[in-house]
Amino acid sequence: MFQDLQSRLSKSFSHGRSLLAVGIAFTTFFAVDVGVADDVSPEANAFFESRIRPVLVKQCYECHSADAKAIEAKFRVDSRNGLRQGGESGPAIVAGKPDESRLILALRYTGSEVSEMPPSGKLSPEVIANFEKWVAMGAPDPRTDDGKVVETMIDFTEARQFWSFRRPRRHAMPMVQHTGWPRRPLDAFVLRKMESAEATPAAAAERRTLQRRVTFDLIGLPPTPGDVKEFVNDESPDAYERLVDRLLASPRYGERWGRHWLDVVRYAEDNTNMGPHNGPYPNAWRYRDWVVSALNDDVPYDEFLVRQLATDLLPETGPDDLPALGLFGLGPQNHKEVQLSRLVIQNRYADDWEDRVDVVGRGLLGLTLACARCHDHKYDPIRTADYYALAGVFASSRQTTGPIVAQSLVDASEPARERVKQLEAEIAKLEKEIAARKKKNPKQDATAEETIKLQEQREEIAELKKTPYFELPVAHILTEETILVEDTDGTRVKLAVYPNRPRDLPIFVRGNAGKHGAVVPRRFVEVLCEDGPARFERGSGRLELAHAIASPENPLTARVIVNRIWQFHFGRGLVPSPSNFGALGERPTHPELLDDLAVRFVENGWSLKWLHREIVTSATYRQSSTAAEDSQRVDPDGRLLTRFPRRRLEVEPLRDTILSVAGRMDGRIGGPSSNVDDAQFTRRTIYGKVSRHELATTLANFDFPDPTIHSAGRSVTTTPLQQLFVLNAPFVRNAAAALAADLLDEHSTVAARVDALHERLFTRPATDEDHRVALDFLAAEPNSAERWTRYVQALLASNEFQYVD
């Protein structure tokens, strides 16, 4: 029955119907011999031709013939040998024995280990009876062709011609007509595209609009009135560049962009269901803090990746860097019920590995590698061997917790922990004795001697706990250990841990851990290795994997991150499918721009801050969000970048801004997480707990992505529940009240208050119309705190507050 299960799993990765014309070559080879048919009687021949062959052609050929797009289960029914020999699962027919023939079992839909076929529905009883009869007759088959070898081969040289598998290169800046427009190299590429479509760029954004935009974009908060004054009054030609520098230097930058990264790596602090072997992760926040700090320090992106995959294997980093391993240390784990059989548990581990390969694949490389768990990828040049070569790395690593201080400190504090354990045991024993005695005779309480002893022991514990590093700080990490599922006494399996015993996995045929194909050495993805993939030799191979990803030779890594950063700035990537650079992904709208930027990004030391600067100081980024008239027609959806796309604040900047404008934001950086739904929680939203089991309502209502799985980007939905939050949540009301109190305190007239409020919320002075609207609402009670609170809340609920031009 688990084969049945696994074939379902394997099916779950088959892809859409339409095979697009793809730029890679699959060549199907099969040797054709001419065989000689057994003697088939005329009656048998007639039976086959009238009752069997038509059904095979109609019901089976689509997936099980030489003409099938991909021959399912390597099983062909369009030849005699193919039908007899069967496919991956073994012989399909035992001549004369319908009940033992897999073909018949499949048709019967018995739900046994054999997949039910055809998948579109059970055939009629008459047809099935015909097949049974035919097999009972000895399965006479007059066909003479022979479809023996069925193997999909990939011509990797040709496959590497696909755009995303070719190494990116520098491109000369294209010639443009409007030569005064470009500010940065990327602008020339953008303008060239516009000009060839006869579109023109939008006007430059007004200064305050731009400041508001770039401030939200880089630090996730609005500019303060002080910031605005500083920038607006700065008449030097590089005022904007210096504003950008100030923002990138702010520790708020890491909080803003760290959160973007956490989406990519499906950061969470627990699991969907929890048990002894799968979370929660109480120290998850250390990884979150590591990410924030690494971004603030502008750790080069290649190093950023290597440390997250394998900092424990680097000589230059110490135990304090171990939280970096949270990338996989916090990976979602499926519950392992040790009372189930070995095979069942092995399949659950295999489910875990799929997540790891998916994060490497879609997250870091923009490739849907996990599709190759059960079959060769249907559209990209990725084989199951590639999948298991990577899964082997994770099968040779263990998710666990470990101290993040030097071993000497662990050792030095260890005696104290040992002693406390001993003392606690003694106390427990004595207390139990006293309790037992007392139960018999209530008068026999602890003796004076015992009381003193307990007292002394407790004092000693208190003293010992003051030992430095008594409580060891720990992080969720990976270690060089392998977990094997082993049988024990027949009542439960054992999850046995073996240090330094890396293992190569066999291919799990159709995803079934119980059905092994060839063993695949741990190595990188073949199509990404021009000289052929080298076997990983060092331990699990994590460090080698990290280097293979974070390499300028890798055609995808730099492109993928440059595209993601672009997407976070503009709302859409140059490749609109940011996690799929394969055949079914979208092609880049500006391929030369993407390549040029990717190459220069690597040349500039993989610096993300360099990349941000390059993008946000461009003329493209500095456009108004209102397109020029001709461009509105030519480029209605903004693919040509003829305007800056207006964007709604995500939940983090929205909530943070409500706190910040009300002067209520607790700006402390880092540390354990709290409940973001709590109206009294006033830290930035990134410090709210992220749960796979139950996502906080505030996050769930505002499009926070499911943290169980890699997120390629957030959707933007508009629901009444979101509006109930801004209209009714005490969190918003409290902020409005605090802000109203401030205004009443600081300014004496309605006009002055309205001015100050608009500056603070919208980064602009109030217009005459704003004053009129305010007066209409406030005139009756111009000094009422309640009235002002309602007015302020209305502004907090308004579109202008939530949308950034």
Binding site: T272, S579, R646, A700, L721, R790
Partner: protein, 461 residues
């Protein structure tokens, strides 16, 4: 009564929509498309418009409820090879021999379908039901089986049946969530079971803990605790005025219009939702009919939501997995069935009287069934090889038994129905072709039934 039903629903649907919208409607006409509720279906004439799913988390025992097995008594204590071997392949827990059900089965209705003595009132509706006795699923643990039953996959990464349904059909009442999940507390796995996964956020189920006494506690921030109706209305006018001007200064304003409209919806939702969730507004006679238990309250609330156009109401019997009777199977089934019998019968009867049963699909069942063998002293273990669900109402051929388990009620052997088939059938009844309801994500089209699923035409009227 029948002819009254639609107009009553119409009334409910439009109630509370009369406020200050006239001026706005023309402004918003152009943007209606941007926020239009999904229209990916129906693909053909629906037989049911809505679903009420009664979910018995933990897995009820089929041989004690809807799948009588007299042979168990004859072979009490035996352990047939098939069962022993199936267990050996997957689990290490010792299984005892066959344990007969102590409950008598009696035939009901014109169809004469036998039902256990534990469910006499529900059994009165067998002529409305199709009883599927041959379900099977893929995993013997709760979490993966719950995922399979709700998401169509063993791992928690796909959208739920309710999310797919609302994605496919949209909502009939924009003032209420389209997919509501009622559970006192949380079932095992909780929100994953009503997750939208990669579908847009508005398709996630809204979970309500119906054991909370006040309707306003059910939806977060449903009631404004600071302002009265008049003050809220005044504030909303202010927001509208600010937003309309902001919008008029901008081009390409679909997103802005959508949120303006959403603000109006939120405002109306406050009164409509409070009304929908308030079962105390039902006449005494109706409340008496359902009974006074927590589950009764949920069934009544489900009817109120459903008749107001909530597309998918899923009702978990209890927090955790109450039907997971590893010990004291008989005693606990007596208590559990005793608790659901009256409310379920009342729900079916009430829907029927109101003419709603024809267009409402009601389903009953858990993530798997239970073994015919003993676990421990007097319990039954999980059984994914064969178990029972029933479906009633919209489009169902009443009085039908579909599929058969073996002599002991262990394994489905004839007309087997996989969970994918059940999903395909539910979507079919709603007018959705399960193969056409797809969503493109991560480079390919996903669907609830994966590449499986066969509509069980035999139970469709």
């Amino acid at each position: 009564m029948n002819s009254m039903a639609p107009s009553r629903r119409e009334l409910l649907r439009t109630a509370g929509c009369g406020m200050g919208l006239l001026g706005l409607s023309s402004l918003l006409e152009s943007s209606a498309r941007a926020d239009s509720t999904a229209e990916r279906g129906p693909h053909f004439a629906p037989r049911a418009k809505r679903v009420i799913s009664l979910f018995m988390g933990g897995g009820p025992s089929q041989v004690d409820t809807f799948d009588p097995k007299p042979m168990l008594a004859e072979h009490s204590g035996d352990l047939p090879d098939d069962i022993a071997e199936s267990f050996r392949a997957e689990r290490l827990v010792a299984q005892g021999g066959l344990m007969p059900s102590p409950f008598a089965f009696r035939q009901y209705g014109e169809s004469g379908i036998p039902v256990s003595e534990l469910l006499p009132r529900t059994a009165a509706f067998v002529d409305e039901m199709a009883i599927v006795r041959s379900l099977h699923t893929d995993f013997p643990n709760h979490a993966p089986a719950l995922c399979m039953m709700n998401l169509g996959t063993l791992t928690p990464t796909r959208p739920s049946l309710g999310s797919w349904t609302t994605y496919g059909l949209g909502t009939e009442n924009e003032n209420l969530p389209g997919f509501v999940v009622l559970c006192p507390g949380k079932p095992v796995l909780g929100p994953k079971l009503w997750s939208n996964a990669f579908l847009p956020g508005r398709f996630q189920g809204t979970h309500l803990n119906h054991s909370k006494p006040q309707p306003e506690q059910l939806i977060p921030h449903l009631r404004n605790t600071s302002l009265d109706q008049e003050a809220m209305s005044e504030q909303l006018d202010l927001i509208r005025r600010i937003n309309v001007r902001h919008r008029d200064e901008r081009t390409e304003a679909d997103d802005l219009d959508t949120r303006i409209r959403s603000m109006e919806l939120a405002y109306r939702m406050q009164s409509e939702a409070l009304d929908a969730f308030d079962v105390s507004r039902e006449p005494d006679s109706v409340r008496t009919e359902y009974g006074s238990s927590r589950f009764a309250r949920a069934c009544l609330m489900a009817r109120r939501l459903s008749e107001r156009g909530v597309r998918f109401v899923q009702l978990y019997y209890g927090s955790g997995q109450p039907w997971d009777t590893h010990g004291d199977n008989d005693k606990r089934h007596r208590q559990l069935c005793g608790d659901i019998d009256q409310p379920v019968a009342a729900l079916l009867g009430d829907l029927k009287r109101r003419g709603l049963l024809d267009e409402t699909l009601v389903t009953w069942g858990g993530e798997f069934g239970r073994t015919p063998t003993t676990q421990g002293k007097n319990g039954r273990d999980h059984n994914q090889f064969g178990f029972t669900w029933w479906l009633a109402g919209g489009g169902i051929r009443g009085g039908t038994i579909h599929g058969t388990t073996d002599d002991f009620g262990f394994r489905a052997i004839r007309d087997k129905v996989h969970v994918h088939d059940l999903h395909a059938t539910i979507l079919h009844l709603l007018g959705i072709d399960h193969e056409r309801l797809v969503y493109r994500y991560s480079g390919r089209d996903f669907r609830l039934t994966d590449v499986r699923g066969r509509v069980i035409n035999e139970i469709v009227a």
